[in-house]
Each structure stands twice: as C-alpha cells, then as structure tokens.
C-alpha cells in the first residue's frame, strides 16, 4: 500500500483527500470527493480515507467494500420496497377467506385471479413476507447498515481525533465561511479567544494558529442512531423464536374450561364469571357524558373483568386424554390489569354477550287461553340432554338442536356451534301415547308442524352467558425494542439539536485568515463569529458558497 506524504511532513494513508494533519488537499485524490471541480472543498468525513474505496484484495475485503457503499444500500431499500409492493397485488395466503371452496393456494389463486393468479402462486408470492428471498433482502439491508456505519465511523473518528490547529492555507481559504483581515493586534486575537471560550468553544492553539471547536459529539448522532436500529433488528430476530415470543387468543365461556392455545396442552383456563359493569346513569358526575355518548349511539363501560382459574396439566404428554389438572392460581383479569402466571400474560381483550346458556319451556294446552303450565323443563345449552320424562306421563324428546339457527334454502341449519340463536325441533309425547306432537320452537318462532297439536310449548325463561376473549402473550423481546428505540432517539436528538462547529484562525504574514465550518445551521455559526469578533479589526466571514452561487446566477443572466 502506498502512503502519501504531505508537505507538512505527515504521512497519510492511501485514499486521503485532505491531509489528516494540515488539511492541504492531496493533489491526486481530489476527484474522490469531487473537489477538483469546485472552489470549496468537500468536508465530508473531513477528507480522510475511506478504506473500502481504495483497498480491496481478498474476497472478504471485496464483500466488505460492496456493502459499505451507500449506493448499494439505497438500491437494496428500493428493491425491498418494490418486492413488498408485489405482495399486496393479491391477498396473502393467510387472508384466503375461510369460506373459499378450496383454501389450497395451488387451487385458490388460479380459481380466483385466473392466469395472473396462477403465475402469482407459482412465483411463490402468496407467502411473500416470510419467503427466504424476502428475508434475505431485508437481512442484506441490515448488513449494509452495519458495514456502512463501521466503514464511516472509523475514519471519521480518526479525522476528528487528529485535528491540529495548524492547517494549510488552501484548507482555510477553501472553506465556505472565510475572511481575511489585516492589522489585527495580538490583544484582539486574545479577546476573540476569550469570547469563543465564553461561547463554550474548546480552543486549542499551536504557534499562533487557533482552532475553536464545539459540539463534536453531534457527529456521532447518525451512528448512535444506527446502533439503535441494529438493536431493533436483533430484537425482531428474537421475536421469531417461539421461546421469546408467543401471541395467541382464547375464547372462554362462563363455566367453561379450555386448554390455553400455544402452551402445548400445559395450561388450562376456566372462566368462573365474566363481569361487565356500567356507569351509574343517575350519578350526577357521569350523567351528561353518558347521555352524550348514548345520543351518538355509543356505549361506555366501567369495567370488563373475568374471574378465572388457571390450571397446569401435570400429565401433558397425550393431548386429548383427560388432563390431570393442578390449580395454579385463581384471580381476576380486568381492564388494563393483565394476569401474569409462569411467564405468560393474559389480557382481557373482548367479550360476547349474545349467547344463551339455558332455556326453560312449559307445556300447556293449545286451547288454554291462560297458557297454564302443565309441565316445565329446562334445556342446558352447554350440555343439552335429549330426553325429559315427567311423573304426569309427559315425555319430551329434543330431536333437533340448532345452536345458531338460520334458514338455508328452506332447510334449517346452524351457522356455528355457539348458542346465539337456539332453535329446536321438540317431540312432545302426551301421557299414554307413542306418537309425538312435533314442535319447532326458537326465539320468536313457535311452529306446529301439523296444526293439530293438542299441546303447545312456550318459552318461559332463558339465561345468557358471556364469552370472554383473552389475549395470551409471552414476550421477552419488548425490553430490546425499548432499548433500541431509546438509543435511536438519543442518536436523533444528538444529531439534530447540536452541531459540530469549528472556527480556524490562521496567521498569514501580517494578516489573519478566519475560516469556519459546521455540519449544519450555518446561520448559528455566523452568529457565533459575529459575537466573537465584535469590537475587533477582524473582518466578518463571507459565505463563499453564496458568493459563488450569485456569480453563477449573474453569468447565467449575462449569457
């Protein structure tokens, strides 16, 4: 590797644009940052060598320099955007509707979207976001992020650490803010230094050359920011593992006991009671608000709560077999107060009220206008029995039961297994008969099939129960996301609210050169300079970029 020796005596690594020590542009490397075409010098990374641009020999170095290119990074992001868009053309596999004739993606896509759907399926876009190539694409962006950061933070650190107050004249006069003043006394120089120190600049001097610097740490903002992003990426990797993250949902009806999904048959939950509390409408405090909400058709509840018992199955090896349950705890899950047990968290997240738990019927004579009950019976809808016998000789048989009744082309069917709209075909055997009278009965329906029934059924009473919906979560990755987000924010604040300002004072023969650079907020640094040089013979700096721009504009006009 070739070293470049500057006239100040400093030996720079290959690829250096501005001498690390004195800042003099190194003749043969000016094309790297495009300095050969402009009057001002490009101060990015302070002109230090980015290794990957100059040095690649082994395969590792070649891969490294590929990923260290911002251009490559941007292209990867563009490709990822394009690929993500592809996945939205047709619904993803998981969104194939349940009522589709065939949910097999091989059949569904062609049946619904024709030839395009077939191509979509064959290209594997039906499960795009968890396909290997999409994940690799996202991973490549992550790699590019890491390597780009490392590849820039090292030379930048080097450049900022090595800064010397004494710079080459060309470095000074090719800065954006620059002025030349004559007849400046030493006292005036000292006065400026004092004022800069007052403005909290760190001032260093060497042989009359002065460097005042402030807010250097803001230069690390983007890299701190990247570290935050990398932590978030790692956290999302963790989230893919079943040990660190679990998200499931369970519906439990009052009185019901079910296995908690996602726990490998290990935990069971029993819903003892669901409680729905409303605000007291007569309470002065809530009255107005409640009326307002009601007028808009809304509802506000005071509390949702499920009193639960959690069991652990100590014999979980054979699913389906009668579980051997040990009570873990008995507690309540209520709004904003999840229940925690053995690393799992249960949240109250939904309820359904429209389910019947039992219905009571009476038998009365058809022609009895008072409908006096001869017999009554109750069907428990959570575990219905089919036959009911009475001492009076009546016998009742539940022939058909539709938990959620609807008519499908004239044929009675059930929509689901949940008793939301129960309907029954009930045979009533009057005493000493073998031929039944057939009744069809449900909410708002009471049909006598023949019209000749001597006895009629009536619904006396019913009970409803709540179904409580609970989210089960096990998430050990959240702290990582929090940490990543915090570091990300710190990086943003660091880079946004502080600027790295540098002011050079360079004695040249009898005059004084003043130059300044900041990574942003040029207005701010001009203000600082104004304050520092007030009451001295030092000239205020001119913005050479502005001047240059104006000149170009003029030329344009003239031409």
């Amino acid at each position: 590797m070739k070293k470049l020796k500057c006239e100040c005596g400093h030996v720079n690594p290959e690829g250096t644009v501005l001498c690390e020590a004195c800042g003099k542009p190194i003749e043969e490397n000016q094309h790297i940052d495009g300095n050969d075409k402009t009057k001002l010098i490009n101060m990015r990374y302070d002109g230090s060598a980015r290794r990957s641009l100059t040095y690649n020999r082994s395969i590792i170095d070649k891969i490294w320099s590929f990923f260290s290119s911002v251009k490559v990074g941007v292209w990867l992001i563009v490709i990822a955007l394009f690929a993500s868009a592809l996945g939205t053309i047709f619904p993803q596999q998981m969104y194939i509707p349940a009522e589709a004739v065939s949910r097999d993606p091989a059949i569904y896509y062609e049946a619904h979207f024709g030839i395009l759907g077939k191509i979509y399926y064959q290209l594997g876009f039906y499960d795009l976001y968890s396909s290997w190539w999409y994940m690799i694409l996202i991973a490549l962006i992550g790699i590019s992020l890491v390597i780009c950061s490392i590849d820039r933070v090292v030379p930048l650190h080097r450049a900022l650490k090595m800064q010397k107050p004494k710079r080459h004249e060309t470095f000074i006069n090719r800065q954006r803010l620059y002025s030349e003043s004559t007849n400046v006394s030493n006292e005036e120089k000292q006065q400026v230094v004092k004022k800069l120190e007052k403005l909290r600049y760190k001032v260093r001097s060497d042989d009359g050359h002065i460097l005042a610097e402030k807010g250097r740490f803001s230069r690390w903002g983007p890299y701190v920011n990247h570290i935050g992003l990398i932590i978030i990426l790692i956290a999302s990797l963790f989230r893919m593992t079943p040990w660190l993250y679990l998200d499931d949902y369970v519906w439990v009806r009052e009185g019901q006991q079910v296995v908690i999904p996602g726990t490998d048959n290990k935990y069971y939950i029993k819903n003892k009671e669901f409680i729905l509390e409303k605000y007291d409408e007569d309470d002065e405090q809530f009255k107005d608000a409640l009326e307002l909400i009601e007028s808009r058709g809304g509802e506000v509840h005071k509390n949702y709560q499920t009193n639960v018992i959690i069991y652990k199955n100590v014999d979980a090896d054979l699913p389906g077999a009668e579980p051997k349950l040990e009570k873990v705890l008995e507690d309540k899950v209520w709004m904003n107060n999840p229940l925690k047990f053995d690393g799992y968290t249960l949240y109250q997240s939904g309820y359904q009220q429209n389910e019947f738990s039992s219905m009571s019927f009476k038998i009365h004579k058809t022609n009895d206008s008072d409908q006096e009950a001869l017999e009554t019976f109750t069907i428990d809808l959570t575990a219905p029995e089919t036959e009911y016998e009475f001492e009076s000789g009546f016998r009742v048989v539940m022939d058909k039961y539709y938990p959620e009744y609807y008519l499908d082309d004239g044929e009675p069917r059930s929509e689901s297994k949940y008793p939301k709209n129960p309907a029954f075909v009930i045979f009533v055997y009057p005493p000493q008969t073998d031929s039944p009278e057939i009744n069809f009965i449900g909410i708002g329906k009471n049909i006598d099939a023949t019209g000749e029934n001597k006895y009629k059924l009536g619904i006396v009473d019913f009970e409803t129960h709540f179904a409580s919906g609970m989210t089960l979560r096990q998430d050990y990755t959240l702290p990582f996301f929090g940490l990543g987000a915090l570091i990300f924010m710190i990086g943003v604040v660091q880079g946004m609210y502080w600027q790295h300002r540098r002011i050079w004072i360079h004695p040249k023969d009898k005059s004084i050169l003043l130059a300044a650079h900041t990574n942003k907020n040029w207005f701010g640094i001009k203000k600082d300079i104004e304050k520092a040089i007030s009451d001295t013979a030092i000239q205020m700096v001119i913005d050479q970029q502005e001047v240059e721009g104006n000149e170009k504009n003029k030329e344009g006009h003239n031409g």
Binding site: S58, I60, S130, M135, V146, G262, P319, D399, K417
Partner: protein
Amino acid sequence: MRIEKAREKKKDRKRNRLIFRTIILAVLVAAVVFALITNAKKDSTIYSVGDKAPDFQLQQINKNNDLETIRLSDFKGKGIMLNFWATYCKPCEIEMPYMEELYPQYKDKGIEIIAVSLDATEPVIHQFIDKYDLTFPIPHDSRSQVLDLYKIGPIPSTFFINPEGEIVEKVEGALTLERLEGYFKQILPDE
C-alpha cells in the same frame, strides 16, 4: 531497520483488519442463517407433509362404531384419514357422504377414517350422524385440545397419514369422491 519495523506494523494492521472484517461478516451471516432457519421451522409447528402425526386420545361418540376411545398411535400399520369437521360447516357436510361411501370397502383394505368433531355439544353430532348414517369413528374434541395440537384453522382440514404414522398429504377444504379415493390409494398399507 526502521523500514522493516514499519512494514511489520503495516502487515499487522492489515491482518487485524482482515480478522475484524471476517468476524463482523461471520456474525452477520450467522444472524441471517439463524433468522432463515427459525422462519423455516415456524411453519413446522403447524404439522405438514413428511412430519410424524402427533398422538392424541379422545372419546369416540358414534354409536354406530364399536370403539370407545380413539388413540391415534393404536392405528399404526393402518392408513389413516384424520378429518377435522363440525356439523355447522357446509363443505364438511358435502364430503361426509363420500367418506361414508368409501369407508366399508377401504376399511377392509386397512384404512381407518377418524373424523374429529369440533362441535360444542353431543346432540348436534348425533343428529348429524343419524342424518348420514355414518359408521366411522367420530371422536369429540370438546376441550379443543386436538384442535390446538394440530393448529387447525378453518375446517374442513384433512390429514392423510401412512401406516408408518407420517403425514402424506394435508388437504384444506372439501374433497371430491375421486380425490378422496386417490388419497386413500396413497396411504394403503402393503399387502
């Protein structure tokens, strides 16, 4: 002497940089490989073709069948059609008569149909059995344990399991008579 030392130093630095870059790249590649593997594994928590069908035990409630409890592993050596259904599910109702039609003939050839009902209560299942005169075993998954074990989404879902206990085919949605017979032939035990 000095030049040699400088050269040595340069060599060291070069080597260190190579080691550093190799380590960083290795860590990144390892992370990507880890992500890909866990993602591929995630699908396998839902049992698919080639996996061993997980064992379970349930009460059998079809009165037309003699079995009382069904344990999947008891049927080793037979081809098994493991069907998940419910009475309110229309496509399930479409395929049930086909299953009944083929059952007697394929039972003799060593195939068993196990149709796990996901209904809430028994009477509706009995109603359904009577309507179609079903004779194959119908276990009732009243606590949704097997549903959770096989991660069943929408029904009907059917697994065809070979005599070695491996899942040969997984079908989501209703089957036609021809397709059903085709799958049966795939899981026939050797004579």
